[in-house]
Every structure is written in structure tokens, then in C-alpha cells.
């Protein structure tokens, strides 16, 4: 049992932390948020230069191969920095899917473009009516290629992606298909999410060449990549939770009412103590999920990951709400970071399976285990 991090892992986190602290202040972020594109290609290039876009590319492919723990540490920093750029979507989720499935020249091309920041890819997986599996998206063999049809919902960062990795039902189970975002037969309806990020609903009805399918039957690889993505999303939320708690505690120290800093009022102290405990429990479950992503047992991994999603999601709800409440009126403005933490935490509750969906999944796992 070891809760320490290697020097390398620590350095990865420090590098992104330092970059965001110096080059990504709240006002700068506000301008990106308000811009047409909703992200900064400049920032993206900087992340590439820091090597962070190769974080989840194996060393054999020329990447860092930082693994779940390194991904967790960097994700905590992207959360704490309220990063808008598609690190999680492209450099974690999509990159892992490619690493697990693509072969040969395609693999090299894709990973190279992703690592350099030249292109963004996103995994188009979520559908309306359920998060866990592709249902309404299908790929049928069509001559020597594929016919891809269906609809994906609220795909984070799709508008800025060159490639969409589309999960679909196939005759042999599931497959992942590489689609150019700008291809004919791909229709994006861009939207803004509750945390101000750019996403899109996407309709597919197009023919694809045979090699558009990455690897073969992809259920296990998809599950593995999604679980890593969930663990990383939990780590991102943990970073937000840390920031929300820290900013609230600081505000309580500074804000004077009735001649006393409000942080001296015992009722508020106890509520901040509760927030602290929520955050620490969220941290423990994030560690547990990350650790499970290093292990080989998919059932144990899914259980830890869903458990983390629930515990972190519940902390997100309560800490988000309490942070706003303890800031009083100031918490209701978008001037301070607390409101942006609140919205990102709300988005976390809803993304990649809601808290309720993961709670259901956990109970189903428990029933399956008991049977």
C-alpha cells in the first residue's frame, strides 16, 4: 500500500499546474469562454509543448505512458485550473481508444497528430437514453466498407475535433469507427453545456471504408478507455472541489460581517468541516478508481469507477452548493471562481453517466455478484 507519487508523476502535475497558474488566469479564461470557438488553440499548443498530449500514449508509441496515476494527477490540475481545452476528451479518452484499438500506419498517424496537438479527436459515445452502451448507433457491413447510422448526444468538444471516434453496435458486438468531422453524412448541432463548454449532438448516416473500423470487436477496449476516462473525470472534479473548498475557506477568512470574519462563526465552520470531509472522501474514491484502472479485473474496475463517480458526484452537488451559499451574494455572480466551479461540478454530475445511473449500475453489479 503506497499513497506516494513518483518524482516523474509529481513533475507532470507541477508542469501543468504552473502553466495554468501563470498563463490561464480567470480573466483570460473568461475571454476564451466568450469567444466563438470556446477554446484557445494557443493553450492547446502549449499543452502539446509540455508533452501532456502524449500523456496517455504508450512509451512504445513514443509517448509518456503516464498511466492512470499520471493521468489522475494531471487531471486534478486541469480541474483546479478550470481548463476549457479538450484535454480530457482528446488526450485521455480518444487517445486511449486509439492506443487500445488502432494498428499499423493508422495508429502511427493518429497518435502522432494527437500528440503534437495538430489534431483533436473525440470519442462520440453518449446517446440519449443511456450512457453505458451504444444502442441507437449501428454499423453494418456494406460491401467492402461500413454503413454508419445513428445519433450521438452532447459530445464534449466535438466542434473542435478533426476526428470523431464513433462507438456503434455491430454484428459482432461493438466497434469504434473513425470519422472525419467534416465528412458528408455527419451533421453537428453545436451546443453549449452547463459549464460553458462546447459540445454537439451528432447525426451519422454515411458510408465508411473498411479501415475506418479501429481494430475488431471493441467492447472490452471501450470499457477500459471509458473507465480510465471516468477516473480522469473524477480527478478533474476533485481538482475543482479542492479549488471550491480553498476559495470558500479563504473567503470566510477575509469576509467580515458583524465585526468578525464569517469563518469564525461556528455554524459555518462546521459546514466547511463537512465540505472538507466530502472532498477527502471524494479523493479516496478517485484514488481507488485510478488504482483499479491499473489492475486487470474489469468487474472490479467498473465497480470502483462507478463508486467514485457516485461519491465524487455527491460531493460535487453538496460542495458546489455550499461554496455558493457560503459566499453569500458574491457566490451568485460569475465574477469569482466559485460560480465557475459550481457549474463545472454540476456538469460533472451529469457527464459520462449521471450519479443516479452509476448508482443503478453499482446495484446491478452487486446483484450480479450475489447471484
Amino acid at each position: 500500500m503506497d499513497f506516494s507519487f513518483t518524482e516523474e508523476q509529481q513533475m507532470l502535475q507541477d508542469s501543468i499546474r504552473r502553466y495554468l497558474a501563470s498563463d490561464y488566469p480567470l480573466e483570460h479564461r473568461a475571454r476564451i469562454l466568450a469567444s466563438e470557438a470556446g477554446w484557445s488553440p494557443e493553450t492547446w499548443r502549449a499543452l502539446a509543448e509540455l508533452g501532456l498530449l502524449a500523456l496517455d500514449i504508450d512509451e512504445a508509441d513514443g509517448g509518456i505512458g503516464a498511466g492512470p496515476v499520471g493521468t489522475m494527477l494531471v487531471s486534478q490540475a486541469t480541474g483546479a485550473g478550470l481548463l476549457l481545452e479538450p484535454f480530457h476528451s482528446s488526450a485521455v479518452l480518444a487517445t486511449r481508444v486509439v492506443s487500445l484499438l488502432a494498428r499499423g500506419e493508422q495508429r502511427a498517424t493518429l497518435l502522432g497528430a494527437l500528440a503534437s496537438g495538430e489534431a483533436v479527436a473525440v470519442l462520440a459515445h453518449d446517446e440519449d437514453g443511456g450512457w453505458f452502451e451504444p444502442r441507437a448507433t449501428t454499423a453494418e457491413a456494406d460491401g467492402d466498407g461500413w454503413r454508419l447510422r445513428g445519433r450521438k448526444a452532447r459530445v464534449y468538444h466535438a466542434p473542435m475535433a478533426r476526428w470523431l471516434l464513433v462507438s456503434a453496435r455491430t454484428q459482432d458486438g461493438s466497434g469504434v469507427f473513425l470519422v472525419e468531422r467534416e465528412a458528408a453524412g455527419v451533421q453537428l448541432r453545436p451546443l453549449r453545456t452547463v459549464d460553458g463548454q462546447r459540445a454537439a449532438d451528432i447525426e451519422f448516416d454515411l458510408r465508411l471504408p473498411a479501415d475506418a473500423r479501429l481494430g475488431g470487436e471493441a467492447s472490452a477496449a471501450l470499457d477500459e478507455a471509458l473507465d480510465l476516462g471516468l477516473a480522469a473525470l473524477c480527478a478533474d472534479a476533485l481538482g475543482v472541489l479542492d479549488r471550491a473548498l480553498a476559495t470558500t475557506v479563504q473567503y470566510a477568512r477575509d469576509r467580515v460581517q458583524f465585526g468578525t470574519p464569517i469563518g469564525r462563526f461556528q455554524a459555518l465552520q462546521h459546514r466547511m468541516a463537512d465540505m472538507y470531509m466530502q472532498v477527502e472522501q471524494a479523493r479516496s474514491m478517485t484514488y481507488l478508481a485510478t488504482s483499479a484502472c491499473e489492475g486487470g479485473d474489469p468487474a472490479a474496475r467498473r465497480e470502483a469507477v462507478s463508486g467514485a463517480k457516485v461519491v465524487v458526484g455527491q460531493a460535487a452537488r453538496r460542495v458546489g452548493q455550499e461554496s455558493v451559499q457560503l459566499h453569500g451574494g458574491m457566490g451568485m455572480t460569475d465574477e469569482l471562481d466559485v460560480s465557475h466551479c459550481f457549474r463545472r461540478l454540476l456538469a460533472f454530475e451529469l457527464r459520462m453517466g449521471t450519479t443516479d445511473e452509476h448508482l443503478h449500475a453499482l446495484q446491478a453489479l452487486a446483484r450480479a455478484g450475489a447471484a
Binding site: R192, Q257, F265, Q321, V324, M332, D334
Partner: protein, 387 residues
């Protein structure tokens, strides 16, 4: 003890229901239902004029000032019916806040000048109470008013001014004696928003909307005739106003409406292939909040009954504020849960989606504004429990 409404009260409720159904314009109702605030000021003014034309412009005012003179039970029923029908709110700043102060402490001239124009919707009022440095601790306010001939010269800054961008008038607490104890040197001043030196700066909120402002006063000259009550006695007006602000503070009407909406959303949402309303865990959450709301309705009626005998609103109103806001916030939370991942899309179309998510975010304010729930718990502990 009899918890039933009398036949007269039930007939009254039916009359209100019929009137609102017949006279609330469809376009306004549609916007309120969708949470579309694009024409909020116009909607509020139009509805106020419609009510006024029917003699219902001020249901909480006595008849002598043009109100309906209804008792609190009828006011309660009226608000419930209006909320259920998706009528716009009536703006509280004139009707419920400054008007009672003017009735109680204003001169006959002030009453004649201001009250009719509140009643018919001509004047839009806004509030100048809180400041950046003084929220819960209102008495620490710093905005200064210095006497200069027959004017006060006002300098300072107010915060959390709601919808002041539409306002004709603002009522302000200002410090007229900086040397007195905090509560002693405060006066209550009415200020025309067109006076030179007033500048509004909108504050963008958590949910991305603009509904509050900061108001800056830079040598704003206010005629001394706009002082209500005596100089340095404004704290009396302030407390009086805060007492009256608490009428219908439980927000039963809004919670009922949103609960009905939640039930509809849960019936329409599909989870695991069946209506979410049939999910036992989610159904239990709805049943729980519905029960809490039912209990609060009775509690509200109990407080109304007690107040009718003791006149002034007592500290029990704090309970209505706390539970009422907690319940409505909980309902908005459940609406977001009912939407599930669909709630991620904030700026999309669809009637429920942006409304429910926006409302959930926006109504976090309920437990902060109007005397935070922490302050209300202090009041219960100290005034009710005598701790």
C-alpha cells in the same frame, strides 16, 4: 380547529382562477412557462396594469390606498392561483417593500405622489439596501448622504440591486450621521433614477443572466422632501420594511407549480426503458418533497392565522423562509435529476431543459437573498428558542 377553507374562500379562489385564466395574455404565460426572460419588464408591467384595471393591483394593501383589503388567507390563495397559472410575479419592490413604509412613515404628500403610480404600474421601484461590504450585516452600510441646503448629496455604492435597469425610482438606506452608532445614523431616502450621477453596472450571475446591478452614486442630489420619516431614523423604516417583505415568503405557489412540473417531467422521462416516475427511488424523492411541501402549506396557514390575531409577522416567518426556499431548491434539483444528461445542454431549445437548469442555478439565490437562511436560523434560535 378546522383546516378547511370556508365556502366563501373557495368561491373566492374559483373567482381568481377564472379571472387569471381569462385575462392572463397567452404570450406572457408562454414566456413565464418557458422561463423566457427576454421581455420580463414589459410582461410584469402589462400584468400589473391588467390586475389594476380589475381592482386587484395591490392585494396586500388596505382599501384606503387602493388595495383590495383582503385578509392574508385570500392573499395566500391569490398568489397560489397566479403561480399555478404561470402569471408573472408582481414586482415586490414597490408593492411589498417601499409602499408599506410610505404608508406608515411617509407624509400625506408622499403617499399621494408615490402610491397610485406603484399601484397602476407606472413607476418601477428598485431597492438600495445592501452594499458590497454589508450583506447580512446591513447596519454597517457606508453610502453617505450629506445635507446641502434643501438637498441631500449622496455618494456611495449599492449592490444586489434587482432589475434596477428598468427602474424609475430607488429606495435607499443612506448614512446621514457617520458619528452615531451604526443603526442610529441611517436615513431612508427615495431617489429618482434619472437624477444625474447615478450609474448602473450590471452584475452577470452564476446562471449567465443579468438581473442584478451595482448602483453607483456620485454626488447625486436628492430633495429633502424625499426623506421618509425622520433623519437618522431610517433603521426603523428598514426593519419595518423587512418585516413586510416576508409576506408570502414561503412561496407555496411557486413550489406547487414546480412540483407539478417535476411530476410531469418524471412521467415523460424514460429511464431503463420505463417512465422515471415509476422508478421507486425517484418516486420516493418526489413523495418526500411533496410531503414536506404539504406540511409547509399547513404551517403557513397556521402562521397566517396567528398573525391575523397578533398583527405583526413574528419570527415564525423565518421558518417559512427557510423551509420554503429549501423545498423549492430541492424541487429544482429533482427537475435537473429528472432531465439527467439532457440537463447538460444549457443553451439549447426545448421547454423544460434550459428552464429547469437555469432555474436550478438561479434559485441558489433563494437561500442567500432576503436575509440568508443562516441569518434566519439565528433569528429562530434567538427570538423563538430564546437561546
Amino acid at each position: 380547529m378546522d383546516l378547511n377553507f370556508s365556502p366563501e374562500e373557495l368561491a373566492f379562489r374559483d373567482e381568481v382562477r377564472a379571472f387569471v385564466a381569462a385575462h392572463l395574455p397567452d404570450d406572457i404565460q408562454g414566456r413565464v412557462r418557458r422561463g423566457d426572460e427576454s421581455q420580463v419588464a414589459d410582461d410584469i408591467r402589462r400584468w400589473q396594469k391588467i390586475l389594476h384595471a380589475h381592482g386587484w393591483g395591490a392585494v396586500m394593501w388596505p382599501r384606503e390606498f387602493g388595495g383590495t383589503g383582503w385578509d392574508k388567507t385570500r392573499q395566500f390563495l391569490f398568489e397560489i392561483e397566479c403561480a399555478a397559472a404561470d402569471a408573472p410575479i408582481q414586482l415586490p419592490f414597490g408593492l411589498k417593500m417601499v409602499a408599506p413604509v410610505i404608508m406608515r412613515y411617509g407624509t400625506p404628500e408622499q403617499q399621494q405622489r408615490f402610491l397610485p403610480r406603484i399601484l397602476d404600474g407606472s413607476d418601477w421601484w428598485c431597492q438600495g439596501y445592501s452594499e458590497p461590504g454589508s450583506g447580512s450585516d446591513l447596519a454597517s452600510l457606508k453610502t453617505r448622504a450629506e445635507r446641502d441646503g434643501d438637498h441631500y448629496v449622496v455618494n456611495g455604492q449599492k449592490a444586489w440591486n434587482t432589475l434596477g435597469q428598468h427602474a424609475d425610482w430607488i429606495f435607499c438606506l443612506v448614512r446621514t450621521d457617520p458619528d452615531a452608532k451604526p443603526q442610529r445614523g441611517i436615513s431612508f431616502l427615495l431617489i429618482d433614477m434619472r437624477t444625474p450621477g447615478i450609474r448602473l453596472q450590471p452584475t452577470r450571475l452564476l446562471d449567465g443572466t443579468y438581473e442584478v446591478n451595482e448602483v453607483f452614486f456620485d454626488n447625486v442630489r436628492v430633495p429633502v422632501g424625499n426623506l421618509v420619516g425622520e433623519e437618522n431614523a431610517g433603521w426603523t423604516c428598514a426593519k419595518f420594511l423587512l418585516g413586510h417583505e416576508r409576506t408570502n415568503i414561503a412561496g407555496i405557489g411557486a413550489s406547487r407549480r414546480e412540483l407539478a412540473r417535476l411530476r410531469r417531467m418524471a412521467a415523460e422521462a424514460v429511464r431503463d426503458g420505463r417512465p422515471l416516475a415509476e422508478d421507486p427511488v425517484f418516486a420516493a424523492r418526489i413523495a418526500q418533497v411533496a410531503l414536506e411541501l404539504r406540511a409547509l402549506e399547513v404551517t403557513n396557514l397556521r402562521v397566517i392565522f396567528a398573525e391575523a390575531r397578533q398583527q405583526a409577522p413574528g419570527p415564525e416567518a423565518s421558518m417559512l423562509k427557510i423551509r420554503g426556499t429549501e423545498i423549492l431548491q430541492r424541487i429544482t434539483e429533482l427537475q435537473v435529476e429528472a432531465l439527467g444528461a439532457r440537463a447538460l445542454e444549457y443553451e439549447g431549445d426545448g421547454e423544460d431543459v434550459p428552464r429547469a437548469v437555469g432555474q436550478y442555478m438561479n434559485l441558489r439565490k433563494l437561500s442567500i437573498y432576503g436575509g440568508s437562511n443562516e441569518i434566519q436560523r439565528n433569528i429562530i434560535a434567538q427570538m423563538v428558542l430564546q437561546l
